[in-house]
C-alpha cells in the first residue's frame, strides 16, 4: 500500500506550551505549520503547571532579571549554562507581556498590573530578601496559557493533527532531519509528514518511574526519537523528586500540608525528620526529605504490609483547617489511598516530578551533537520544553521556571526557524522511511511473549528501586543489570490485539519502547556521576565535585555510551556567577 504523505514548512511534535508557542511564531508569518499531538492539545501536561511563570516584572516587590538569573544559576547548583539562563531571564519579561496581549487572563493587583506571588528560591539583590516573581492566572496558569496559545494558533491557521502518534524522525545520510513518520490513532494508518524543519516539544518522561506525578502521556516520546536518530540526551541523571506523593500512585500532596503543621512518621510513630534535619525538620528541602523517607523504608521502618512507605500525619490539624486551607487533600487521599486525611495519616513516598535533562540544544532551540572537539547543529531539528536541555535548570529546577522555559524557548525556536524556512525541502531518504516503518510493523509480530503491561511494570519498578532517590554504586550497578535484562526482553514482547482501529495497545507498546530508552539514559548517566549535585544525590559521594564533575553528561543509545561537555559559565553580557555552596 502507498504511504500517505503531506508536506509542510515546519512540523511541531507536541502541543504543550513549547510546541504551541513555537507554532504560533511561524503561523503568524504565513508559513505552513503542522502540529502533531497524541492527545487533544489542551489536554497536554502543561495544564498541570498550576503555580505560575517567573518574570522579574517588579510589580509587587523590587526585582531585576539579573537577580532572577542569579537565583536560577544557584538553583541549578552551577550546572546550568549561564548564557542560556541570562537569555531566559531577560526574555521572561517580554514573553509574559506577549502572553498578556494574546489574552492570558493573569490575576491582577488593584493597580491593574499582573499579580506576582513569592515562591521558594526567589531572592532580591543576589541572595537577599524574598522576591515575588511568579505571575499566575489564579490556580490554572498552565491551562490558561495553553488555551490562549491554542486559540491563537487556530486563528493563525496552524494545521493540527490531533490524536496522531509520532513514530520516528526521518533523516538523510548527512544527518539532516526531513520530517517524521506519524500514526493516526483512530484508523492505525501511518502518515509521512515532510518538513523543512521539525521541532520536538513532547514534554517529559516521568512515567519511567513507578511512582510519578506525571500524567500517563509523559512517556519521553521525543527524547527517545532523538536517541534513535543518533542524538544524545544530556544530564538525564538529574530528575526532580517531590517527597510526598501518594504511595504507589504518585499524586502530589502539596508542601503546604507540612507548612500547616503536618508531619511525617515511620512505623514506630517516630517523627523521623527530627533526626535528619533537626532545625527545619519536615520543612527541609525536597531532596533532604525525599532521601530521609527512602532511608526509613530501606532500614525497615516503613509502614504498611510491605513496609514500603511512610505516613504523613495531618489529622491533628482538624477538619476545619484541612477543608479551608488544604482544598482537595481529603478527596485525593480518599480516592487514591482510601484514607480520609482528617481521620488517618496518608501513605506517602517520593514521586518523580520533573526531568531537568533532555535533548541538548542551544538558546535558539537548535539541537546540538558533538563534532570534533566542539559541537554542531543538527540541520532541520529543534527541541524545546521539558524534552529539551538548553540547559537552564542544570541539576535542579526552581518553581515557576518550568512554564518559563517552555514559553521562552518554544518562542525562540519559532523565531529562529522563521529565518531558516526560505530554502527548499531536501530530497526524502526512503531508507530512513523504511526504518521508521519497520519500528511500527515490528508490533505486528504474533506470539506468547511477555505483555506490554508486565514489562512496563517491571521496568518502572526497577527504575524506582535502582535509579530513583537513593543512588549508591551498589544499588545502581545491580539495577543497571536488571534494566538491561528487561531491555533484552522487550524484543520478545508481543501484542494480543493486532487490529488497526483505535488500537491503543499498539500505542502503549510504542510508548514502552520510548520509556525503556529514556530509563536507560537516566540509569547509565546516574551511575557514572560520582558526586552529589542538585537532584542527583549519592550517599557514597556526598559532596559536589566541581573539579571533576562540573560538566554536562551526554548519553548515546548505541552501546550505552557516555560523553561529556563543558558547562557554559560565561553569560551573554554580564559577569559570570562563580560556584559557591548552595545554601538557603
Amino acid at each position: 500500500m502507498t504511504l500517505a504523505r503531506r508536506r509542510f514548512d515546519a512540523l511541531i511534535i507536541g502541543a504543550g506550551g513549547a510546541g504551541l508557542n513555537a507554532a504560533l511564531q511561524l503561523a503568524d508569518s504565513d508559513f505552513r505549520v503542522a502540529v502533531v499531538s497524541k492527545v487533544f492539545p489542551t489536554r497536554s501536561h502543561t495544564v498541570a503547571a498550576q503555580g505560575g511563570v517567573n518574570a522579574a516584572l517588579a510589580n509587587v516587590l523590587p526585582d531585576n532579571w539579573h537577580w532572577h538569573m542569579f537565583d536560577t544559576v544557584k538553583g541549578s547548583d552551577w550546572l546550568g549554562d549561564q548564557d542560556a539562563i541570562e537569555y531566559m531571564c531577560r526574555e521572561a519579561i517580554p514573553t509574559v507581556y506577549e502572553l498578556e496581549h494574546a489574552g492570558v487572563p493573569f490575576s491582577r493587583l488593584d493597580n491593574g498590573k499582573i499579580y506576582q506571588r513569592a515562591f521558594g528560591g526567589q531572592s532580591q539583590n543576589f541572595g537577599g530578601p524574598q522576591a515575588a516573581r511568579t505571575c499566575a492566572a489564579a490556580d490554572r496558569t498552565g491551562h490558561a496559557i495553553l488555551h490562549t496559545l491554542y486559540q491563537q494558533n487556530l486563528r493563525a491557521r496552524t494545521h493540527f493533527f490531533d490524536e496522531y502518534f509520532a513514530i520516528d524522525l526521518i533523516r538523510d545520510d548527512e544527518g539532516a532531519i526531513l520530517g517524521a513518520l506519524v500514526l493516526e490513532i483512530e484508523n492505525g494508518e501511518p502518515l509521512l509528514i515532510e518538513a523543512k524543519a521539525t521541532v520536538l516539544a513532547t514534554g517529559g518522561c516521568g512515567q519511567v518511574f513507578r511512582t510519578t506525578s506525571n500524567a500517563h502521556i509523559n512517556t519521553g516520546d521525543g527524547m527517545a526519537m532523538a536517541l534513535r536518530a543518533g542524538i544524545p540526551l544530556m544530564d538525564m541523571e538529574f530528575f526532580q523528586f517531590h517527597p510526598t506523593g501518594i504511595a504507589g500512585k504518585g499524586m502530589l500532596i502539596t508542601e503546604g500540608v507540612r507548612g500547616e503543621g503536618g508531619y511525617l512518621i515511620n512505623k514506630d510513630g517516630e517523627r523521623f525528620m527530627e533526626r535528619y534535619a533537626p532545625n527545619a525538620k519536615d520543612l527541609a528541602s525536597r531532596d533532604v526529605v525525599s532521601r530521609a523517607i527512602v532511608t526509613e523504608v530501606k532500614e525497615g521502618r516503613g509502614c504498611g504490609p510491605n513496609g514500603d512507605h511512610v505516613l504523613l500525619k495531618l489529622d491533628h490539624l482538624g477538619e476545619e483547617i484541612i477543608n479551608q486551607r488544604l482544598p482537595g487533600i481529603r478527596e485525593t487521599g480518599r480516592i487514591f489511598a482510601g484514607v480520609d486525611a482528617a481521620k488517618e495519616p496518608l501513605p506517602v513516598f517520593p514521586t518523580a516530578h520533573y526531568a531537568m535533562g533532555g535533548i541538548p540544544t542551544d538558546r535558539f532551540g537548535r539541537v546540538l551533537v558533538p563534532h570534533g572537539t566542539g559541537e554542531e547543529v543538527v540541520p532541520g531539528l529543534y527541541a524545546a520544553g521539558e524534552c529539551a536541555c538548553v540547559s537552564v535548570h542544570g541539576a535542579n529546577r526552581l518553581g515557576g521556571n518550568s512554564l518559563l522555559d517552555i514559553l521562552v524557548f518554544g518562542r525562540a525556536a519559532g523565531l529562529d526557524l522563521r529565518e531558516q524556512l526560505g530554502r527548499h525541502h531536501r530530497p526524502l531518504d526512503e531508507a530512513s522511511v523504511e526504518q521508521a516503518m519497520a519500528r511500527l510493523n515490528r508490533w505486528d509480530r504474533k506470539g506468547d511473549g511477555p505483555t506490554v503491561r508486565e514489562l512496563r511494570d517491571a521496568f518502572r519498578k526497577a527504575m524506582e528501586d535502582h535509579a530513583g532517590v537513593f543512588r549508591t554504586e551498589e544499588i545502581m550497578s545491580e539495577g543497571l543489570e536488571q534494566l538491561r535484562a528487561l531491555r533484552e526482553e522487550l524484543d520478545a514482547v508481543c501484542l494480543r490485539d493486532h487490529s488497526r482501529i483505535f488500537n491503543t495497545a499498539r500505542i502503549e507498546a510504542l510508548e514502552l519502547e520510548n520509556l525503556v530508552d529514556c530509563g536507560m539514559a537516566i540509569a547509565v548517566s546516574a551511575l557514572a556521576r560520582r558526586e552529589s549535585r542538585g537532584a542527583h544525590s549519592r550517599p557514597d559521594y556526598p559532596e559536589r565535585d566541581d573539579v571533576n564533575w562540573m560538566k554536562h553528561t551526554l548519553y548515546f543509545r548505541e552501546g550505552d555510551r557516555l560523553d561529556y561537555k563543558p558547562v557554559h559559565t560565561r553569560p551573554l553580557t554580564v559577569e559570570s556567577f562563580p560556584p559557591k555552596e548552595r545554601v538557603y
Binding site: T212, N214, G338
Partner: protein
Amino acid sequence: MPSERELARLRWQCRRGMLELDEILLTYLERHYATAAAAEQAAFRCLLGEEDPQLQRWLLLDERPADARLHALVERLRRLTPTD
C-alpha cells in the same frame, strides 16, 4: 455492552494532562462503565468533553456541575476508592 472499539476510543479520551484525572477516569471506564446504565454511560461520554481544570474542580475540589446527570456521575466518581 459497549464494543471493544468504543472502549478503546474512550480509553484514549481518558488520557488527560493531569495524573489524577487519568486515574479517576480510567478506573471508572475499566471497572464500571460497561455495566453502567445507558444514561450514565452517556453522561460519562459527555464528561470526557470537558476541559481538565473543570474536571479537577468537579472531581477533587468543591464545585459540582449544574446538569443533574453530570452531577450524579461526578458524585459517583468522587466515591471511587483504590479497591473499586
